[in-house]
């Protein structure tokens, strides 16, 4: 590594630089490549070689070279060590040759001294720098902390939300103005407290366990509504947010509570909740609360749990409202509500007002129908007690529907539907009573309801059809007419007779549309027969229901149908029930006359079953009396004819003939009956004895024969 002794007395600076660079590269970190380092060292190498040879030796040169090493960051001791070694080895031949060994030693010493001095300066400087940096950093951190503290101190002091800080062992150490105001204490009084002083009887069971979890570091945060006592003993409700402050290594230090007074909000909420779940008039629980309670009972009920319902509706409440006014009506509702609640709510039953004059008593944990009946009797008695309202002595009653069943086996909707139907039974059975739900009756009602609801669709879809039962002359046995009878070809139940649906159609009013269809169909068929058998006199007899007669458009309807079909009115007979005719007065009576004036024949159906005003009969435009089948039944046995029946029939026939009416006997089943009727002077008859009702073709066949 050290070159052999040079013949050249003066060493070359580039050689020295190269050797030097090789020696000290990688001893310290410098920001230079090897080539750059060689270049970097060429100048100091030249200066040192010059200094060795110079007559006027300047010791500052080697000193500066030593210092330059440090400046280039040759800070490791081995950098100096190797530098001195290289200088010794590289410069020794020239020094020897020039008698300058002492100068070389001086030179090396000065390089070392310069290096050492520079290292010392550098060390002091860098130590100074790093200490200054620490101070600067601290000052910066302090400044930031101070600014932050100042900001937050202002925030803390002026916050509208109450803030309190406590140690983890529960001493209150800092509170803000808002918290003091909220609690009614001065700051000094507040910090005399410990956290445990703020217990309140309304505390949720887990408040203090949660607080303990926080103070011991098991959680960092919690939020809940909590009540406190103010200094004056008043209760305040707060929205409390509690956070844990830990040291940097995670040890719990402080507990911060942020407290917002929500007393007003709480009060309002309570009020709103009550309003939402109670009826404003009676202050009883409303429908919503009732359903909530009921659904709660039906959701996951304990095994064997039963539930009972009393659905109560005042009888004739509307009349009271109409008669005495709504104020009295409201007062009545309030009174009844008060009585029901007083006598029933204390037993743990829920008494709710579910609508106008409807109340419901919900019996949880029902033990059976007996308990329910007892409740119903109590409720009835409560309603029955006379009231004095605004000077009016009012007596009122109620009807109740009772349902009781296992909680697992039902839903709220099912229960209410059952109770509603049962209430309707109590009403239908005469009011002022309770009715108990009955599965079979309910099933019947439901199927009736189903049929009723299917009627309009059945009419639209053409599920009805007509059959015709012959009317036969008792004198000569000829066919004088037919009665049109409606049938329903039900898609599931098969063919249904009028007794199974006409009543339903009358209740719903569909009878008007259905009757119009029947009349139209019958008239068209009648006209067809007129065309095919123009020489046969054939009366088409069609039933009119009470509601049809009351329909203001009935005369127009019949006129249109007759015009439409082309049937001469004299071939049309309209059958009305006795009660329909007898109940007529005013408009319906005029209707009856108008129909008769059209030329149609009017018959009274089922004559003798109602209470006919015989005198009245005289003034009616009636052409035929159809005698009820019950009279005819008495003639069934020719050997033992009922004398009274026979007398009545005889009288009726004579009466009819006197009034210029013909008489038709219905339900004639035997030849004996036919004979007897003929002898009594009855004009026509119908019944199985002659023919059952059948399709139009069967009548056509009779006509053709």
């Amino acid at each position: 590594m050290i070159p052999a002794t040079s013949m050249e007395p003066r060493p070359r600076d580039d050689e020295l630089a190269r050797s030097w660079a090789r020696a000290i590269a990688r001893t310290s970190y410098v920001s230079m490549s090897r080539e750059e380092l060689v270049t970097h060292l060429e100048q100091p190498a030249r200066r040192l070689i010059a200094a060795l040879a110079a007559d006027d030796y300047d010791p500052r040169v080697p000193t500066e070279v030593g210092a330059g090493l440090v400046a280039a960051h040759f800070t490791h001791p081995s950098s100096l060590q190797r530098t001195l070694a290289v200088l010794g080895a590289q410069l020794a031949p020239a020094a020897l040759a020039g008698q300058r060994l002492a100068r070389l030693g001086e030179l090396q010493g000065a390089v070392a001294a310069g290096y050492t001095q520079a290292m010392q300066d550098r060390a002091l400087h860098e130590q100074e720098q790093i200490r200054t940096a620490v101070m600067d950093a601290r000052a910066e951190a302090d400044r930031a902390r101070w600014a932050s503290e100042a900001r937050f101190q202002a925030l803390f002091a002026e916050a509208a939300v109450g803030i309190g800080i406590a140690t983890v062992d529960g001493r209150v150490i800092e509170v803000n103005r808002a918290l003091c105001d909220m609690f009614g204490y001065s700051a000094e009084e507040m910090i005399e407290h410990v956290v445990a002083d703020f217990v309140h009887p309304d505390d949720a069971p887990d408040v203090w366990r949660t607080y303990d979890d926080l103070a011991t570091g098991r959680r960092d945060h919690f939020r809940m509504d909590k009540a406190y006592y103010r200094s004056d003993g008043q209760k305040i409700w707060t929205d409390l947010v509690v956070s844990l402050i830990r040291s940097q290594d995670g040890v719990p230090l402080f507990v911060v509570a942020m407290v917002e007074d929500i007393t007003d909000r709480q009060r309002l909420q309570t009020q709103l909740r009550h309003q939402a779940s109670h009826d404003p008039l009676t202050d009883l629980p409303n429908r919503t609360l009732f359903y909530d309670r009921l659904n709660a009972m039906l959701t996951d009920p304990p095994p064997g749990a039963r539930v009972g319902l009393c659905y109560l509706d005042l009888d004739g409440f509307k009349a009271i409202n109409d008669t005495f006014g709504h104020d009295v009506g409201d007062e009545l509702l309030r009174t009844v509500a008060g009585r029901l609640a007083a006598r029933l709510a204390d037993d743990g039953h829920l008494v709710a007002r579910t609508g106008g004059d409807e109340f419901v008593v919900l019996i949880g944990g029902s033990s059976g129908t007996q308990g329910l009946v007892a409740v119903a009797e109590t409720a009835l008695a409560a309603v029955r007690a006379p009231l004095d309202l605004d000077g009016h002595a009012i007596e009122i009653s109620a009807s109740l529907g009772l349902v009781e069943r296992a909680a697992t086996a039902t839903t709220a909707a099912e229960l209410m539907k059952a109770a509603d139907t049962t209430l309707y039974w109590a009403k239908a059975d005469g009011r002022d009573r309770w009715a108990l739900f009955d599965t079979e009756r309910y099933a019947r009602d439901v199927s009736r309801y189903r049929l009723t609801s299917q009627l309009p669709e059945a009419l639209a879809q053409g599920q009805f059809f007509l059959e015709y039962q012959p009317l036969v002359s008792l004198r000569d046995g000829t066919l004088t007419g037919v009665e049109a009878l409606v049938r329903w070809r039900h898609p599931e139940l098969g063919v249904l007779g009028p007794d199974q649906f006409i009543g339903l159609a009358e209740e719903t009013g569909l009878i008007v549309a259905l009757g119009r269809w029947v009349l139209g169909e019958a008239c068209q068929q009648g006209q067809r027969w007129r065309v095919t058998h123009p020489h046969r006199d054939l009366l088409i007899s069609v039933n009119l229901a009470v509601r049809q007669v009351r329909d203001p458009a009935i005369v127009t309807t019949v006129t249109e149908i007759l015009d439409g079909s082309g049937l001469d009115p004299r071939w049309l007979q309209l059958e009305l029930t006795e009660s329909a005719v007898m109940a007529t007065s005013g408009q319906p009576l005029q209707t009856l006359h108008a129909l008769a004036d059209l030329g149609a024949r009017i018959a009274i159906d089922d004559f003798g079953t109602g209470y006919s005003n015989l005198a009245y009969l005289r003034d009616l435009p009636v052409g035929t009396l159809k005698l009820a089948g019950s009279f005819i039944a008495g003639l069934r046995h020719a050997d033992r004819p009922d004398r009274v029946d026979r007398e009545i029939l005889s009288t009726l026939v004579r009466l009819a003939h006197t009034l210029d009416m013909t008489v038709t006997a219905e339900g004639v089943e035997t030849a004996d009956q036919a004979d007897a009727l003929r002898r009594l002077g009855c004009d026509t008859a119908q019944g199985w004895h002659y023919a059952a009702a059948g399709p139009a073709q069967s009548v056509t066949a009779l006509l053709t024969r």
Binding site: S33, I130, M135, A137, R138, I245
Partner: protein
């Protein structure tokens, strides 16, 4: 006390002028990685406690000062390479205590207009850097946490010097081994890469478990007992930090082998060099 209460280090704040990371305490009684590294490089910006810790580390890995030099030499070569590619903006993440051959010295020697922003979260390193950079209008330092790239790049002081619409070099030199896996170093890198303009470069150097596995394990164990846990990574893991960016030649290699100035600069013991580096072009 109040500020501490409201700025709990465990909870995220939302204020723009306060960082939501907590800088390390200014505690000269505990070793700081920046000062310890300065000591490895022969610097004297350190305290007895730093030197004591360094002494323990040097026992575990006696060649560490040389390795540190090689790392700085790589940084110098990488910056020169980047300036040669026309890069004149540098963000040096985890820059530590400024020492000889800082990025701005190297870069501004090549192009006096080069802009350099140093980023560190050690308040002492930041204060020292600020003192060193006083008067240099093209270089500055910000206190920020490199694990939050968005905040770093949104820092107004950084934006004053760095135009993110133009290519920039993002330097992660000898710092990602202080980011453990659960802090998702790969995502951090990719977030920086996504935020910079096409034509930018990413520089990573990283201590490795390869080369001197036993020494590296001892080194890691020592750091793990300090306030700055360490995660040395395999070459494959270090390569993976670049994601799908395009590496410039020679790829991820042991630091002395990354574009050495001359063969003289590559020491004989390069095979066992316990650190890898690479430079990738973005976009």
């Amino acid at each position: 006390m109040l500020a501490g209460i409201f700025r709990s280090p465990r909870r995220k704040g939302v204020s723009v002028n306060r960082p939501d990371w907590a800088p390390p305490e200014i505690d000269v009684d505990r070793p700081a990685v920046a000062r310890v590294y300065d000591y490895y490089l022969g610097g004297l910006h350190n305290f007895a406690v730093d030197r004591e810790f360094a002494a323990q580390v040097l026992q575990a890995m006696p060649d560490l000062p040389t390795h540190a030099q090689e790392n700085r030499a790589f940084l110098r070569r990488a910056v020169r390479f980047l300036t040669a590619q026309g890069i004149d903006q540098f963000v040096d993440l985890g820059s530590g205590i400024p020492t000889v051959g800082n990025v701005h010295e190297v870069a501004q020697r090549a192009d006096a207009d080069s802009r350099v922003v140093y980023v560190d979260w050690d308040p002492v390193a930041v204060a020292h850097s600020r003192a060193i950079l006083d008067g240099n209008h093209r270089a500055s330092v910000i206190a920020a946490d490199l694990r939050q790239p968005g905040q770093v790049l949104d820092d107004p002081a950084l934006r004053q010097l760095i135009d993110l619409d133009r290519p920039v070099a993002v330097l992660l030199v000898s710092v990602l081994h202080f980011v453990p896996d659960d802090q998702r170093p790969r995502e951090i890198v990719s977030e920086f890469a996504k935020a910079v303009a096409p034509g930018s470069y990413l520089v990573i150097s990283h201590a490795s478990s390869e080369g001197q596995p036993e020494q590296a394990a001892r080194l890691q164990a020592l750091y793990n007992k300090s306030a700055s846990p360490m995660r040395v990574r395999s070459r494959a893991e270090i390569s993976a930090l670049f994601g799908d960016l395009t590496l410039v030649d020679p790829g991820v290699v042991q630091m002395p082998l990354w574009r050495p100035d001359s063969s003289d600069d590559v020491g004989p013991d390069v095979e066992s060099y316990p650190g890898y580096a690479g430079v990738a072009r973005i976009g």
